[in-house]
Amino acid sequence: MTAAELLPVTVGAVLVNNIVLSRILGTCPFLGVSKKLKTALGMGSAVTLVMAISSFATSVLFHLLLAHPFTAGPLKGLDLSFAKTLVFIVVIASLVQIVEILMQKFSKGLYQALGIYLPLITTNCAVLGAAELNASSGRSVLLSTIYGFCSGLGFALALLLFASIREKLELSRIPRIFQGASIALITAGILAMAFMGFAGLVK
């Protein structure tokens, strides 16, 4: 694993093609949970955790079962790569369910604050997107886990930035028709434009 391989995975995932701001995936929790900085931190860490584990699980499953047709055993010659998305969704859903139960037990406050957005991570396209990207780029299991973790970090960074801006906007006198989601979308748009500055950073 040379530096040339590692760089696009780490810096690429966090800054250059950030999962939210460049690839525009997972925008619904991005807009939904960024009202308060504390809940944004909670959500960011939850999504990073889920993305790391799900990237690991999905890439293991991918390489074992789906990447190439079966070579041994009774199912010889069976190529299941078409079932990739289905398997990924099932894995991610159950992982999130387990994380939700653990969080309800251990950090009640965060569970209350995240509310509907925690189960929403199951259908969160950022998590599924990371898994799909790993599969299509055919990275090794370790690399795709790192990629999952880093894009989770990218998601958390973008969410943190966005939540702190929205908390500051709480105190400004935004005209009534722009309050709420519209100002959030405009701010996210400007942030995405700024992140395009990193284009070409990683060859």
Partner: protein
């Protein structure tokens, strides 16, 4: 073994394994919660106005279920939603008499005299300690709209420097009553027809100098209908505003027109007494 069957089997196996993992997690870590709270919270108006004395509708719903607080304390919810809450709880809910807020002052910028130019925050509570934003009468409505801004139902409007409550919009949550620094806003039964729009306890002569729309305490109305009006200091208060009607008012014919019908409460376009300056004085219009 056809392709489809194999695929189904493999994915099924993965689903089974993960299902068991979830089952185990539920077994060890589950936490029980009561779902009636959400149901009641959705029935409440959700305006978080605080009329029930709790922090908001969610808090009130929790109190209804856990501390069985009385649902009729919610002033803003309609009769049939109160009945539906009763069904969820399984106990009868007493119907509430509908109350409406009213501002007991008719001294807008055309009637009330200004004693100085005010330059500072356009907020009643802040201006109250600066001689009411330069207004002569120290019982009168400051007219900078703190009640109008904070009314969760948008029922209060400031017109010509005086707050006016629209009875049809007002649900009687009472938030404005505690906000007004001059304690001008009172909750009255919804069907009241006329009031005496003044709150100043000063003597008539003093009021005459500060505002020509104030009640002079001439007690004409008390003499006409002794059981419906009582006089306290320089002011007369209508005891049972619901019993009044147009014919009675003509019979009393209040000299200063401070006793008038609720519909006529909207201020007249202007007469000579007030100095006509805007509420914020000479400072640049904010």
């Amino acid at each position: 073994m056809s392709m489809l069957l194999a695929a189904g089997l493999v994915v099924g196996a993965i689903g089974l394994v993960l299902g068991c993992a979830i089952g185990l997690a539920v077994l060890f870590f589950s936490v029980k919660s009561d779902d009636r709270i959400e149901k009641i919270a959705s029935l409440l108006p959700g305006a978080n106005c605080g009329g029930c004395g709790f922090a908001g509708c969610g808090d009130f719903a929790r109190a209804i279920v856990e501390e069985n607080a009385d649902p009729s304390k919610c002033v803003a919810c309609t009769a049939e939603s109160a009945a539906r809450i009763g069904e969820v709880l399984g106990r009868a809910v007493a119907a509430r008499e509908k109350m409406v807020a009213v501002v007991y002052c008719s001294g807008d910028q055309f009637h009330a005299v200004r004693c100085a130019e005010y330059n500072g925050l356009s907020d009643c509570r802040a201006a109250a300690s600066y001689a009411g934003g330069g207004k002569g009468c120290r019982y009168g409505c400051v007219g900078m709209g703190t009640c109008a801004r904070n009314c969760p139902f948008g029922a209060i409007e400031v017109r010509n420097g005086r707050a006016v409550v629209h009875p049809e919009l007002c649900t009687g949550c009472g938030k404005c009553v505690s906000l007004c620094p001059r304690k001008l806003i009172h909750l009255v039964p919804a069907d009241s027809k006329a009031h005496i729009y003044c709150n100043s306890l000063e003597k008539g002569a003093v009021k005459r100098k500060l505002c020509n729309a104030g009640c002079l305490g001439c007690k004409k109305c008390v003499r006409a209908f002794p059981d419906l009006f009582i006089a306290t200091g320089g002011l007369v208060r209508a005891v049972n505003p619901a019993a009044l009607d147009k014919t009675m008012l003509e019979k009393i014919s209040c000299p200063v027109h401070v006793l008038h019908l609720v519909e006529e409460d909207f201020p007249c376009t202007g007469c000579e007494k007030g100095s006509g300056e805007k509420a914020d004085g000479k400072g640049e219009e904010k």
